[in-house]
């Protein structure tokens, strides 16, 4: 199986997983227990927290709170950050942010959605025009999960704060974390990340928070995670996350260059076939390459490809129960293009030759399906 659906989830990092599993098996105590074993597990978690935080931010300025995943981190950010006035986001957000914004309406906060450009990126001017003195919260995705477009969140956060210094700025960094080199820009207050997109386990994520930013708790209970997110810690998930991240960040520059090469060659091959239109921008994240085969349904192509040993995505897996991708629709494409969207997403594990083979299979399969439907 050539696996090109890494933006949906990655295969767990075997080394990280076995190390975490061994520790979690051996040190099974409740991290809140007041005896030696409990303290030991507590320390393992704190070490994991430091490792993860250090990979994208300085511990002087930021804190990290573990969550059950990217969705919970986004929900926590939106519902704890946007509590009055209005809140601004883009039409290109992942559902975890987008649907939370829609739900804000019922909580007395006016959600505002800025349109996106053709490539899925946010138009800073359009976004800023929605920010006013009553805006309390702004959220912009770092890497668009469906097109791979990168938003300059540092500059955006800066501009938002110049207009309204009291605004809290959040970014969903799920598709950027462990993939794009660099630290969280200083004006960003909240940043969501997920474990299973970089070799960790499903069910683990984190919300990174600028120090001093007061957020109300999201889950109430035993007071874990500094009282912000109660519930016994997911020790196995947290440890696996930190070890997987450590390995990813250790090779982040080299991986980026290599995956960029793979993405460019795949893009060129698919474009040259005349069967696919590439929707992802040239300067986006190399990990995501979204294309459209006009006139066929992406889902049908996806199943044919799977049977031929290539797994790809169609839009975001979280929203694939709906007929079209809301995000690609927001980019302004017509129905026949929306129908045929496929998302190829790479990982550092993707080999050069398997990507090339997949591109050939993609072209042949699309050609065959088009002929059948003509």
């Amino acid at each position: 199986m050539i696996y090109l659906d890494n933006a949906a989830t990655t295969r767990p990092d075997g080394q990280a997983l076995s190390r975490a599993a061994e520790e979690a098996f051996q040190h099974y105590f409740n991290p809140s227990a007041r005896y030696g074993g409990g303290f030991l597990v507590h320390r393992l978690i704190e070490e994991a927290r430091s490792r993860l935080l250090a990979s994208v931010a300085s511990a002087e300025n930021y804190e990290l709170e573990f969550t059950s995943g990217g969705t919970e981190a986004d929900n926590h950010a939106v519902f704890s950050g946007a509590r009055r006035g209005n809140a601004v986001t883009s039409a290109g957000e992942h559902s975890a942010v987008y649907e939370s914004f829609v739900a804000l309406r019922g909580r007395g906060v006016e959600p505002r959605f800025a349109p996106v450009r053709r490539d899925g990126s946010v138009d800073p001017e359009r976004l800023l025009s929605l920010v006013d003195e009553k805006t309390t919260f702004v959220s912009v995705v770092h890497v668009n999960n469906e097109t791979g477009a990168i938003n300059e969140i540092g500059a955006l956060a800066q501009a938002v704060k110049e207009k309204n210094p009291r605004c809290v700025f959040h970014s969903d960094g799920v598709q950027a974390f462990g993939k794009l080199p660099g630290k969280i820009p200083p004006a960003v207050d909240l940043y969501s990340v997920s474990a299973h997109k970089i070799g960790g386990l499903k069910g683990t994520g984190a919300l990174i928070r600028r120090k001093g930013l007061a957020l109300p708790p999201y889950l109430f209970g035993g007071g874990q995670e500094g009282g912000l997110r109660s519930g016994t810690e997911n020790v196995l998930g947290i440890l696996a996350f930190s070890y997987a991240a450590e390995r990813k960040f250790g090779a982040i520059q080299g991986d980026h260059v290599r995956v960029d090469g793979i993405a460019r060659r795949t893009r060129a091959r698919l474009e040259e076939s005349g069967l696919f239109a590439v929707l992802s921008p040239e300067n986006g994240s190399p990990y995501i390459l979204t294309v459209a085969c006009e006139g066929v349904r992406g889902e049908v192509l996806q199943r044919m490809l799977y049977d031929r040993g290539v797994a790809v995505g169609t839009g975001s897996a979280c929203s694939s129960k709906k007929p079209h991708s809301r995000i690609i629709e927001a980019c302004g494409y017509k129905k026949s293009v929306l129908d045929g969207v496929l998302r190829l997403s790479f990982s550092p594990e993707t080999a050069e030759d398997e990507a090339a083979e997949a591109a050939e299979i993609l072209c042949n399969t699309a050609k065959e399906l088009k002929e059948k439907l003509s």
């Binding site: 889902e299 049908v300 199943r303 044919m304 129960k321 059948k372 439907l373």
Partner: protein, 384 residues
């Protein structure tokens, strides 16, 4: 005294010399519905009794038998000795806490020293004495306590009747093949034919990769719900993908669905005949969609010789939905799925296709080869 489920049967009593056969099949179906629960099943005059089951499973036993066709009504109650003391002891367990009531006694054992009126009066008096919150109302009581005095010093006591599904025991009216799509209608059609005693096998057409595995899973889920009524169900799935592709390529678009349905009927008939099934069953309802017009039905019927039973033919959609809700398939049926008929759905399907034209269009296809190819994709699972 022992907890029992009392089962009364529906139409079987009308059967003259065949009654014994109907009763045997009915008993077999009751046994099958209770598979996995320790119990004993006895026949007493005109009733069946389920006894010796673990008391905590009483509700489950009642729920299971309530789905067996042929059951007219059932009651959860007690079997006890027939002295007044013993009867009253059981009555206390089913008696209401307050409100109006009456006692209704049936005395099958005519040698019993009291007649039915006297038994009712005696039991009723004891109830009033024990519980001042009760009052008697023999005309419109809120509760009725039933006492049934049988032969051999045995009495049955129960507090209510549950309605069974009625109908005839499954297996007493032959075997048929139901074309099941995943929508609302076909499970209801299967239910209705099983209710008349037909053993129903299931056939589902898919067009993977145009439809997804979810559609198949949904049909399995629906079949399992249906199997609670019909006993063991066999589900066969067949791919019609290539047939659809060929029709799409070679025939007039507006006849897509009509032509596909003719293939489905042919394939269904071959499977039915190979398995010794004597009819096809569909969920079609006259005029519901373009392919279910009189002309559409005629064009499908034209390619088969087995009778095609369409129990929903005169039903409105709302009536079908109501039945689907009642039998418990509705919630599953409305989950989103792709019907293979919608994949190549033309914008304007023909509603009055002429048989002559259909046959001419079909001439462009190698019908036999396509059917053989389709049949080769058949997979069968048992849903126990």
């Amino acid at each position: 005294m022992e907890k029992v489920v009392i089962i009364r049967y529906a139409e079987i009593h009308l059967k003259g010399k065949n009654r014994g056969y109907f009763e045997r099949v009915f008993a077999m179906n009751l046994e099958r519905s209770l598979k996995g629960v320790r119990h004993e099943l006895h026949r007493t005059s005109g009733r069946w009794l389920v006894a010796k089951f673990p008391e905590e499973q009483a509700e489950d036993v009642a729920r299971r038998v309530s789905k067996v066709f042929g059951v007219h009504s059932y009651s959860l109650g007690y079997e006890t000795g027939s002295t007044l003391e013993e009867i009253y002891e059981a009555v206390r367990l089913v008696a209401p806490k307050s409100g109006t009531f009456k006692v209704e006694t049936h005395r099958g054992y005519k040698q019993y020293p009291l007649n039915s009126m006297e038994i009712s009066a005696e039991i009723g008096a004891r109830m009033l004495e024990d519980n001042p919150a009760l009052t008697v109302d023999v005309h419109t009581p809120a509760h009725t306590v039933y006492v049934d005095v049988r032969q051999n010093g045995v009495a049955l006591v129960f507090g209510s009747y549950g309605a069974g599904p009625g109908g005839m025991p499954v297996g007493t009216a032959g075997e048929g093949l139901l074309l099941i799509s995943g929508g609302i209608d076909s499970p209801v059609a299967g239910y209705m034919m099983a209710k008349r005693g037909l053993v129903v096998e299931l056939l589902h057409f898919h067009s993977y990769p145009y439809t997804n595995e979810g559609a198949k899973e949904k049909v399995v889920a629906l079949s399992k719900i249906l199997s609670a009524y019909t006993g063991v169900v066999r589900l066969t799935t067949v791919s019609v993908t290539h047939i659809q592709e060929e029709i799409h390529k070679k025939c007039a678009a507006e006849l897509n669905v009509t032509l596909l349905r003719r293939f489905m009927f042919r394939i269904a008939e071959r499977i039915a005949k190979a398995r010794g099934l004597s009819c096809l069953v569909t969920g079609e309802s006259l005029g519901q969609v373009a392919s279910q017009t009189m002309e559409g039905l005629t064009s499908s019927n034209a390619v088969v010789t087995l009778p095609v039973l369409r129990p929903l033919i005169g039903f409105d959609k709302e009536e079908i939905i109501e039945r689907a809700k009642k039998m418990g398939t509705y919630e599953t049926s409305i989950l989103p799925y792709e019907d293979c008929c919608t994949v190549f759905l033309p914008e304007f399907p023909a509603t009055r296709p002429k048989l002559e034209r259909i046959e001419r269009e079909e001439g462009a296809l190698d019908v036999e080869a396509l059917i053989a190819e389709s049949l080769a994709t058949a997979e069968t699972v048992r849903l126990d």
